[in-house]
Assembly symmetry: D2
Homo-oligomer: 187 residues x 4
Amino acid sequence: MPKTISTLAPEWAVSEWFNTPSPLTLAALRGRPVLIHSFQLLCPGCVAESIPQVQRIERVFGHTDLQVIGIHTVFEHHAAMSPLTLKAFLHEYRIKHPVGVDQADGQTDTPITMRRFALRGTPSSILIGRDGSIIHQTFGVEEDMMVGARIAMALSAPVADEIATTTQQNDAGCADGRCELPSHSAV
Amino acid sequence: MPKTISTLAPEWAVSEWFNTPSPLTLAALRGRPVLIHSFQLLCPGCVAESIPQVQRIERVFGHTDLQVIGIHTVFEHHAAMSPLTLKAFLHEYRIKHPVGVDQADGQTDTPITMRRFALRGTPSSILIGRDGSIIHQTFGVEEDMMVGARIAMALSAPVADEIATTTQQNDAGCADGRCELPSHSAV
Amino acid sequence: MPKTISTLAPEWAVSEWFNTPSPLTLAALRGRPVLIHSFQLLCPGCVAESIPQVQRIERVFGHTDLQVIGIHTVFEHHAAMSPLTLKAFLHEYRIKHPVGVDQADGQTDTPITMRRFALRGTPSSILIGRDGSIIHQTFGVEEDMMVGARIAMALSAPVADEIATTTQQNDAGCADGRCELPSHSAV
Amino acid sequence: MPKTISTLAPEWAVSEWFNTPSPLTLAALRGRPVLIHSFQLLCPGCVAESIPQVQRIERVFGHTDLQVIGIHTVFEHHAAMSPLTLKAFLHEYRIKHPVGVDQADGQTDTPITMRRFALRGTPSSILIGRDGSIIHQTFGVEEDMMVGARIAMALSAPVADEIATTTQQNDAGCADGRCELPSHSAV
């Protein structure tokens, strides 16, 4: 069963959003559990397994305050997986939740969010608690039973006043829709 | 998400047990979440869907104090699904958790436990909370994501002193490994 | 692709039939391709894989003269898989094609047909050509694509006069609905 | 079972090839059965169902002279499914057989090959016999058992002299790697 690891999740870095009228920040979602789904549109495991799983998550937990966020973390075939192709992909696969394009760092093939979370590849998923900490992070796809259990636990956590206060303090370090946490300042 | 229905689960009525050195009662399991899996060995949906799901439940929640109990609720083809055939079935399907044969009532085709829980058929499953109440009961198979979420919630419930006290009182009405609750007294 | 092995199939030995008004013999089916499905009702691989495959075979090749025959080749848990339980099993799994109970030899656990075909276990399947020869025999389940290809080839074989003549000669060795071939005379 | 429809298959029109050192024509493949798989890389049904099926076809029939040809028949989201993205897609999905980009007609969204075969959408598949005729054409995915049966039948057809002669005559109408048949001359 899930063990809470008290590591505060870093902010994502997104160059373009789909399925949301305005840019989103993890900081602004503090208080709600957040599931980040890291994928690439040409990743077979993403298309065959993790995207269908995310859609089952949305069906089962659609009435809760869980927020699902897709991050298109392209680290290969960059030209082949442009935002233009992503847009058509989201349309064809009926993906309705907000999806952000992971921001290129201008130097390497690995985009910024992917490096901040130290993702090993796609698909990856990160479950973030109401207090902003990383509850669980995985590379690949875990079985539905376990995923359902983890999300239920994350949802059942109380929103304490203390957490809200901490959030305020952390938000102070965010600017331009991004939070540069000390532990990730190297990125 | 699951809503706790405060109906105290009735006791099962079992004529023969497999995979346990001594007979079990629901009353004695008070304090632990219990998942009852009602099946018949010749029920195609049980073999194809619910039994594999129960085995996934055991894999994911094997390190918790969830207790899985199978009840062989035969309501048709009684001679074809005798305890002798059930024993070989449990061996071939590698079912290791305790399985009880639902007790015939001597008058109808529907056995006693099945009637007490008002089961509509097989497969059925009943999730019972630490306080002995029925959290959820379903006919057929629900998706793993939801099942995992429900069990996680049941596991996260505290074992309050108050519950223990209530349990004592309810246990007072139990005899011969069976609790005859007022609401089920007709059985 | 399948290679025709020119081994004449031995006759089956059946003690009881289901889903047919009168006993069947392989000899009498000469001229038609025959698929023998060897199974046990408590064999998990049979229930999960080979029986559904046989039902797909019946759906795809239902308009041809392919004859599907089930043989209940019980070699363990004999009392648990009695004809009475088999009858209920066939009803519950909606199996409509003729199914014969493999005849016990009175001495060993392995029934007669199973030994004649030298089957290694269940599920097994044997595809027999119009000329009575074994086209392919397998232990376990092969992929549908290959199975479909083999059956189509068996169906496309002509029913030559020569085959009919040969059949007659082989039939000369058959008695009581059974052919005792020299190579199987030990049985 | 498949019925041979004696319609000579039109030639494909391809603007760019992958997985082949030089352009291919259907005319030059006369004498071999050909399976054309029409797909789009952003078509969910293609990725989830028809591409895996084509890969099973290749595994089962890899030792025969069946030729599998993919045609990327893009009729929507053209910019999103460019040859550059297709190339990365073929790499990621381990597609090794020749794939041609269906040629745009310069006027409509529907490319030329798609119109010549009157395809309704993707995925589609067309099985062409040794004599160049269309044996079967389908929109969507059929079950493996049936597909295997059809291909086996196509493979078992003899390459008669008569067919070769007919082929020569039809080839007379082909130029620039393309055959403009009277019935398709409107394209």
